[in-house]
């Protein structure tokens, strides 16, 4: 088995190896606890290496498909009977995020859960959740997406209720499974509608044959509302603060990843599957020829603009409610959870602006064989900011949750009223918290600044009021976290917390990994955008390439 074989099989192996690891964990756990932890870390590392290999290949060679069971992707070049994984830049980008979160979460949970029972099942479920996340991210089949969505949600709701001695944790888990199973059933119903019309389940085949009929609109509404339930967008956000706040910190880190996998679903469905319907139905405003390339400016379809505005309104509500609720929380983890809600709003805002923009420009490259469709102007930069913000949000919010977990381990306290003066005894944790604070509130020189600036700029061009609301929400986030910094880390020492010790090294190491990535991203955002973000944006906007990736075969 040489390296090209590994690259070829990597889409399947990225999902199959965590699954195999999860199935083996109960057997490995019979031998030794330490061996089990090492085994879990090993599985995560192997998966991450495979993700790196795959991402490298996809960024340099373009879309890669994998057919389960062998054979050509399509029969008679018109319909797919087998399950396909289709990995383009966006999938690879999401897989990179998931792999970072995976490794950090497993390293962090080594000492975080030291004195708890049920760790065998904990590691099994963590690996299953990881497999589900990667499956959601990499799959190219609608029903397969639904199956992995269910794996992720079932594993995560069991993990949310890890502290079974607390009633609120169980309550959070129950809320999450109710919301997520209803959302998943909406998605399944929408898949049924799409299947009845096009007799296809494959995403690329659907994208090729979608006609945006009335039933398609219903299916789109059901898909977006189902995924919005899973992603915690505002009318259906009530599970999110509970679940994020009650779960163990290492699980919350992965929950952030699972939420973003659902957001990725919204991106993929609106931009790729419905991309053809959204982009070919507008009227041509003007056409010009520029250095051999024909440039056409097309007005967006009115329905698309209204979809965009619905998404923008939801995003603004998510941001405002998240920030305002975060201001009045006294429980540290719930506070960070509401901040995470606000951050989800920013990601949704970018895609909303993309659809709400009045026109888009399409470049027809006549000197090349295919038609490349690219977008210029603020809509594409909004999407860039939104996609860049996905990775930044995962890192920033993840780091803050890990710090909250570290504080809980050191002091056994989560209420801000009972904390104070931790900076003297927990130097490293304080430093990590300050890094997370600066990053999450979008201040230079951390990574949050770069992505939020792109979102502000593009949103301001669409409508200045929305841009101002986005900036205000960010300022309020800064206020929230400065309050936390002041009440938990600074100030006089509280007598109960005199002999607080720094957390163990493995937890510091896990936080350090994320902090390093945040600083690197913050110092060199242009390198990151050029190498990771731009391929993802190009891939997600180019629905033609997504369809071609399956239809011509590789």
């Amino acid at each position: 088995m040489n390296i090209s074989d590994i690259v070829f099989h990597s889409p399947a192996l990225i999902v199959a190896i965590p699954l195999l690891g999860a199935f083996l964990t109960p057997l490995v756990a019979k031998i030794n606890d330490k061996l089990r932890n090492i085994f879990a870390i090993l599985i995560a590392l192997i998966t991450s290496v495979l993700v790196a290999i795959l991402a490298n290949d996809v960024f340099s060679n373009g879309i890669r498909t994998y057919v389960f069971g062998g054979g050509e992707p399509l029969v008679n070049n018109s319909y797919a009977i087998r399950i396909l994984f289709e990995v383009d830049g966006m999938n690879a980008f999401m897989a990179i995020i998931a792999s970072i979160l995976t490794v950090v979460a497993i390293i962090y949970s080594w000492t975080f859960l030291k004195n708890h029972t049920g760790q065998d099942k904990y590691y099994t479920l963590i690996l299953l959740m990881i497999a589900g996340m990667f499956g959601m991210i990499l799959t190219g089949d609608m029903f397969n997406f639904f199956v992995f969505l269910e794996i992720t949600s079932i594993a995560s709701c069991a993990l949310i209720a890890f502290y079974t001695n607390k009633g609120k944790a169980i309550d959070a888990g129950f809320k999450y499974i109710v919301i997520s199973s209803i959302g998943a059933l909406f998605i399944l119903f929408a898949i049924g509608i799409l299947y009845s019309q096009y007799n296809a389940l494959n995403m690329a085949v659907l994208a090729n044959s979608i006609s945006f009929s009335f039933l398609d609109k219903i299916a789109l509404a059901l898909l977006i509302s189902g995924l919005a339930m899973k992603a915690g967008i505002v009318p259906m956000h009530m599970w999110l603060p509970d679940a994020y706040g009650r779960a163990p910190s290492s699980v919350t880190l992965l929950l952030v990843g699972a939420t973003q996998a659902s957001l990725y679903g919204i991106f993929r469905i609106t931009l790729s599957i419905f991309g053809k319907a959204f982009n070919t139905t507008g009227t041509v405003l003007k056409s010009a020829t520029l250095t051999g390339d024909e440039l056409i400016m097309v007005s967006s379809y009115p329905n698309v603009i209204s979809i965009g505005w619905i998404l923008i309104i939801l995003a603004i509500l998510t941001m405002i409610i998240g920030v305002l609720m975060a201001l009045k929380q006294s429980n540290l983890k719930r506070l960070i959870a509401f901040a995470a809600l606000a951050e989800i709003g920013y990601m949704l805002l970018g895609i909303g602006v993309r659809f709400a923009s009045k026109y888009s420009e399409i470049v027809k490259m006549n000197n090349q064989e295919y038609i490349q469709i690219g977008f210029h102007g603020y809509d594409i930069s909004a999407l860039t900011g939104s996609i860049f913000h996905i990775i930044n949000d995962a890192l920033d919010i993840g780091l803050l949750f890990l710090v909250a977990g570290a504080i809980y381990i050191a002091t056994k306290e989560t209420s801000l009223n009972k904390l104070g003066g931790l900076a003297r005894n927990m130097k490293y944790t304080t430093v990590f918290f300050i890094i997370g604070l600066i990053a999450v509130s979008g201040l230079p020189p951390m990574n949050g600044f770069a992505s939020k600036l792109i979102i502000y700029e593009s949103t301001f061009q669409l409508n200045p009021i929305i841009g101002i609301i986005a900036i205000l929400a960010s300022i309020l986030l800064l206020a929230v976290f400065v309050k936390v910094l002041h009440s938990a880390f600074l100030g006089p020492k509280i007598p109960n917390l005199k002999d607080v010790k720094e957390v163990p090294k493995s937890m510091l190491f896990a936080m350090g990994i994320i902090a390093c990535i945040i600083i690197i991203f913050g110092l060199f955002p242009n390198i990151v955008i050029d190498n990771i973000i731009q391929p993802a944006v190009n891939a997600i906007t180019n629905h033609e390439a997504y369809i071609r990736g399956v239809f011509n075969g590789i």
């Binding site: 079974t164 009633g167 609120k168 199973s181 059933l185 009845s196 509970d242």
Partner: protein, 119 residues
């Protein structure tokens, strides 16, 4: 319109389930509502599989060749329904587990009285 009666039955089943989930406060009733939605969706998928005068997609007692394949109902929705039923069982098991634990903690099944205590 009337020939779409199976789909209308499916939608009614889903809506009854959704109304139960939204308006009932008893946790067991919420779970029953989710199960109703799930049955509705499964019924929807299996309804899509049917074609008029078709038989089950099993080659039993005859050898199929390319020219005498009988008129069968669609196999893919059957497969999807099988998968979604098992997923439903898993979700149901987990939800009932949560309810058992919630009842132990709070001694009630009323959703309004659960998770409201001060820490």
């Amino acid at each position: 319109m009337l020939f779409n009666f199976p789909y209308i039955a499916v939608v009614l089943l889903i809506l009854i389930g959704l109304a139960t989930v939204i308006y009932k406060r008893n946790l067991i009733k919420i779970v029953i509502g989710i199960t109703l939605i799930e049955s509705g969706v499964n019924l929807f998928l299996i309804t899509l599989a049917y074609r008029k005068d078709s038989i089950a997609p099993i080659f039993h007692g005859f050898t199929a060749s390319k020219d005498n394949v009988p008129f069968m109902s669609l196999p893919v929705p059957h497969a999807l329904t099988l998968t979604s039923i098992v997923i439903g069982v898993a979700v149901l098991a987990l939800m009932l587990t949560f309810i058992i634990h919630l009842y132990r903690h709070y001694n009630t099944l009323d959703a309004r009285k659960i998770g409201r205590e001060e820490e």
